[in-house]
Symmetry: C2
Subunit: 373 residues, 2 copies
């Protein structure tokens, strides 16, 4: 695989030194960008946007044209896999995802099978197209939902504050949930391996709902299947580094660090300095600015970015990100402020003294940077 | 203060030995009970139920008539304080609380003041009435929302999945949020002191939304004000032990253990054995069964209760509870199963061998117990 010209993300994932801390943002291609909304309107539905490789490429590149981000992430959705399984995904405006045929009884669970990857060709075509368009500038991240998080939507049929149906099934019929998870794990592993074959330089697993589980249930029903995905991925010969993000998983970092991932994504509730102390040098860390900071003021954005960089410490192996997806109300110019701050404050060419968190020394000037794309 | 005949809860809060592990359940008086729904229908609205001391007493006692619970908890709502501040609380059926006059601008924050406790007399009257009705059988718990959790609703105006307005204010105008929190802390302290004066044997602070904050923001905007409440309560001469429950606060137990509380309430995501190891003997612990377990099967309920008792260990200072409020779909007979299991499995008169979690030895018989009321 060709190394991108800006390979700071890949070096950080291998815990090698970088000239600045790399930054990308969850949902960096999204509704806070007017150009995204224009493309989205042209596409028709959200699913049509995901399924058109040319349009998916267009929106993937939009944030990179504005901001000097250190990575692109495939524009897609975590629910493409259950859709390919035949559950019938649609997005209701203002309500989120909905499945026409959720796993509502034991017979439906019995019929579930790993989908034919040909039904997901549109995703792999998008990966290829984005990779060509990036032209070796920055790495491309692929991604998938975790087996458990996919199961949450497949069982509940839509989003939920607490996914109570899933937790109920876990206690009442653990055998059924394990069957769904085993199938999901095979599907996710095959899906990610194919993304890597088409050009993804690294992959991230989004475990959005694992944090709703008890500690024991998380280990048995979420982390165990993430571990299986990572094993299968290695067995399939994937060289791509991997990031595992469990929202609400801050209590279980020691366990997550042992699952075979290259990096752990942290939500904003997790203390970053404490996280580093707990996992040591075993994995890279990514995170973890509260996305709401981007709706405050430039001064607050700089102060919070500075605090995170200080908490991350001087060791290599840190990737700056939000602790959850960027929110639609975010002013794009605040994203520019954040990216500029993170690059300037972490630039090894400027002295540590100038960037101390005390802020008594003169502030490092934030220079505009070329995007590298 | 007269000691109730069943004082297992109070002894557990002081980390003294008890003949069985005491159990009570968050929202034990609630919609899963047909008799509650009948009283609720008679009252008219939810607020009318809270504001009528006779009806509040009736619903407080209902679960104790069915199950041998080791404590009663005042039937009320955490939002009585902001209602008394003039924000205009109502409950929209199926939607939850709503304020007619939320803190929507700086002027509204400027006008905010500690309410006259006379406006909350209906709560103190209910405490007195319940105390008389309990007639020395089991302890009565009083409660309040944490200053931060109250602020969440006061600013947002209603419930929310992520209270983004509050988090935004925290970064953009921390001064305004601190002003609200300081007023809330004075109000909560005075409110709890008055509940204790009217007969509450212990009090609990519900910090339902503190877990949405970053580690640093939690310490500064939630825990610091809980600490202030506890200081004021001690300064007012309250002898009542205190329980602090931050949902999603499992990462911060060491800090919470130092806030001056007698016990920490744990949500179901927190590993109980790990929690005990982290806080040592400094505080009692309360929790932490996933409320969804009560919607599964008697066998699963027993297995999960057993696992929690084993994780709590043999040291005194543990109170069995759920990790969050009981859900309305819970079959009352499953609550009976749980209470029976916890009492039988933790009874010091039965040998440890019989109650080992391996379950190889013959099962302890679960005998019906008198409720003590």
């Amino acid at each position: 695989m060709m190394r991108p010209r800006n390979d700071t993300l890949l070096r950080a994932l291998s815990r090698e030194p970088t000239e600045h801390v790399p930054i990308w943002l969850m949902r960096q291609a999204g509704r806070y960008l007017p150009e995204y909304n224009a493309t989205r309107a042209r596409a028709g539905s959200f699913m049509q946007l995901c399924q058109d490789p040319a349009l998916a490429t267009e929106v993937t590149l939009q944030p990179l044209a504005r901001f000097p981000l250190d990575a692109a992430i495939l524009f897609s959705d975590i629910l493409t896999i259950p859709d390919a399984m035949g559950l019938g995904l649609s997005f209701v405006e203002g309500e989120g995802p909905r499945f026409a045929r959720p796993l509502s009884d034991e017979a439906a669970v019995g019929r579930l099978a790993v989908p034919d990857l040909a039904r997901l060709a549109y995703v792999f075509d998008a990966v290829s197209a984005i990779k060509r368009a990036l032209d070796g500038s920055v790495p491309l991240l692929g991604f998938a939902g975790s087996p458990f998080t996919l199961a949450c939507y497949m069982i509940e049929g839509c989003g939920s504050a607490d996914f109570s149906r899933v937790r109920r099934l876990l206690y009442a019929r653990p055998d059924l949930l394990h069957r769904i998870l085993a199938i999901n794990a095979e599907a996710v592993a095959a899906y990610l391996a194919e993304q890597v074959r088409h050009g993804a330089d690294a992959v991230m697993i989004f475990d959005t709902w694992g944090g709703l589980l008890s500690a024991g249930a998380y280990a048995a029903f979420s982390l165990a299947y993430i571990e299986r995905v990572l094993q299968r991925l290695r067995a399939a010969g994937s060289p791509a580094p991997t990031i595992v993000f469990t929202k609400g998983g801050g209590q279980w970092l020691e366990r997550i660090a042992g699952c075979g991932c290259s990096a752990i994504g942290l939500d904003w509730m997790t203390d970053l300095a404490g996280a580093r102390a707990r996992v040591g040098a075993r994995v890279a860390l990514q995170g973890n600015l509260d996305p709401q900071v981007l709706l405050s003021t430039p001064a607050a954005i700089e102060a919070e970015a500075r605090a995170i960089l200080e908490a991350a410490g001087p060791e290599p192996g840190f990737i700056f990100n939000l602790g959850h997806g960027i929110v639609p109300e975010t002013p794009p110019e605040h994203v520019a402020t954040l990216v500029g701050c993170v690059h300037a404050l972490s630039d090894v060419r400027s002295s540590r003294k100038q960037t101390s968190v005390e802020g008594k020394s003169p502030r490092t000037r934030v220079e505009p940077r070329s995007s590298g794309t």
